[in-house]
Symmetry: C2
Subunit: 361 residues, 2 copies
Amino acid sequence: MNLRKKPAAAPQIKAASVDPKRKKSTINDIARMANVSKKTVSRVINDSPFVKEETRLKINTIIRELGFAPDPQARGLAFRRSFLIGMIYDNPTAQYVVNMQQGILDAMRGTSFELVIRPCDRAVPTFLADMRHFIERQKLFGVILTPSVSEDDRLVKLLHEIDCPYVRIAAVSLDTAATMVVTHDVSGAADAARHLADLGHKLIAHISGPPTFRSAHERRRGFAEGLSERGLKLARQYDREAGYTFESGIAAATELLSLKPRPTAIFTGNDEMAAGVYKAARDLGLEIPRDLSVVGFDDSPVASRMWPLLTSVRLPIRDMGRMAAEKLFHRRTEKRAQNDDATDVIPTLVVRESTAKPPAA
Amino acid sequence: MNLRKKPAAAPQIKAASVDPKRKKSTINDIARMANVSKKTVSRVINDSPFVKEETRLKINTIIRELGFAPDPQARGLAFRRSFLIGMIYDNPTAQYVVNMQQGILDAMRGTSFELVIRPCDRAVPTFLADMRHFIERQKLFGVILTPSVSEDDRLVKLLHEIDCPYVRIAAVSLDTAATMVVTHDVSGAADAARHLADLGHKLIAHISGPPTFRSAHERRRGFAEGLSERGLKLARQYDREAGYTFESGIAAATELLSLKPRPTAIFTGNDEMAAGVYKAARDLGLEIPRDLSVVGFDDSPVASRMWPLLTSVRLPIRDMGRMAAEKLFHRRTEKRAQNDDATDVIPTLVVRESTAKPPAA
DNA sequence: CTGAAAGCGCTTACAG
DNA sequence: CTGAAAGCGCTTACAG
């Protein structure tokens, strides 16, 4: 810590407000200058309706002139709740995490909240104890949960027990509308299925994510539904489970592509696995999209760095973060009514170069 | 002291400690039970040497039994400084940001600190005011700066003015050793140069990052130095400036590859631009590495998703985050001596498939 | 080595 | 609509 102490500069309040080392003003200073009690200043800060308009105006003017901002720590101590929002996540995709953080920060701009981040691992034995410790100790105002930790019922139960507000982001509604941002992965996956069917594919395979992810189920389900709309079926032997990773995508695709008849199209549960399909196809001498069409999910940056550019299903991650944070803030305000509605997000299919008509049989 | 709370087995403190809604114990409870003043408990919490060993033991036992953890907000209010570490960054690469966050969190595990994140844009007019507001309002314990915002002298000047401890991560030492984690990009870039020279390349080009990034200069300089060690020179027409983005990489590479004689190798300031080189090469019908060798910098995940796998220079980002945070913590302890040493990070060249002998002339 | 008092900057609970 | 008192859970400054 930098311990250099400079003698306090200007005692006068006037010149002091330009001096970077001036003592920051407090609610007491404002109260004194406005000739009211600090409690009244507190009322203004907290938007209490029980303040005469004239008083409020006077106080607000002084606050603005002094550039006063209430100390969140002091406020938190008295409120018995901090102004910290926690983001709890276990999504391994960096771009997802960063976009989500950005979205939450978008919503927090101009508020007195700050974002504290908390990656976690649901598999460690101390998971729940860690989360509880984190939340209670910091007296978090609330938390935002992203998949797959957002699907963890033990955690949500804990949140209720310790009375911590939360918003969950998930592929399907798992909770009351007021706590959910629902991404409807089913719909995006169905788009992918229709796209492939409409190109003329019949031998269509799917590589799904791990069963511990709800999104893996939803994407698979949506894909199957989309196919059946077009009179097609997801055949058992073309239906593989993998782990949302590049390597697991290679393995699953290698098996799939050695089948007879070989599928002419593969839809993967995320882009990482699609990259694995690319690798497996190349190793087998297959050309995309001539010999094989591929559709991913996420529209991550790799999707547009791959060659050929990957057709993928896009979710507006940043917007989702913003909406989740807004929901959390509004849960304590009069806007409750409108926030009791579910927040729905519909994915869109981004068609690029990795899909084409099936090879002539 | 170690403040991690273990869900300790409930002692005589009755069933309350199992009840999730129990009132959390405070320093007063501990004091009462230990038959000492709260000030003495405070001394134990803060590792003061002026406590009798016996007293310390007794108090620590009770603390452990009750699973007591001091309230960071109350502590912060009294200390006039919070237990929040800020990470301030403007690096656009998601993987970089996430790895850095992870590293900082690694160092914070088991402490009472939390990480608050703050992306920023040095170009907006309110940049300095925003940063100041952020730091002063939250009374941050300290901040960690990553490139390129770590190179901003105005910000560092502000940090001194408001007495905020900081650690800077940068490609070259810009400040006193105690505040720096230096990544020595020069060394990694020189490795890339030697690697290409040793393969037999003579017509070697470089695409550098934007001049606003110190790393862009250092990587270019290191590359030129590595070449000159091998008796080669970075020719003017083979030396291009771009923007660290995929698109700018495409543009620069397209120009470079239309030159006569065409360069047989390109070193790019980061992997994103290397991906751009891949694209440009493909569009021109050139095959990597047969017709063109490519080396990137960052060893980001795309490097091993591209085809052929990209040879790239790797920096241990997560470790760098951890080291930066440790430096920040230790600046207030007796370990000062050892932390006054600069922290040096040496990049390593990861050779993959994108480099080979130059085509026979 | 230990403690009683005052205070950090706010809000709650109560009173008017 | 407004205020005086007490308190949130800690630490500092002082005293012994």
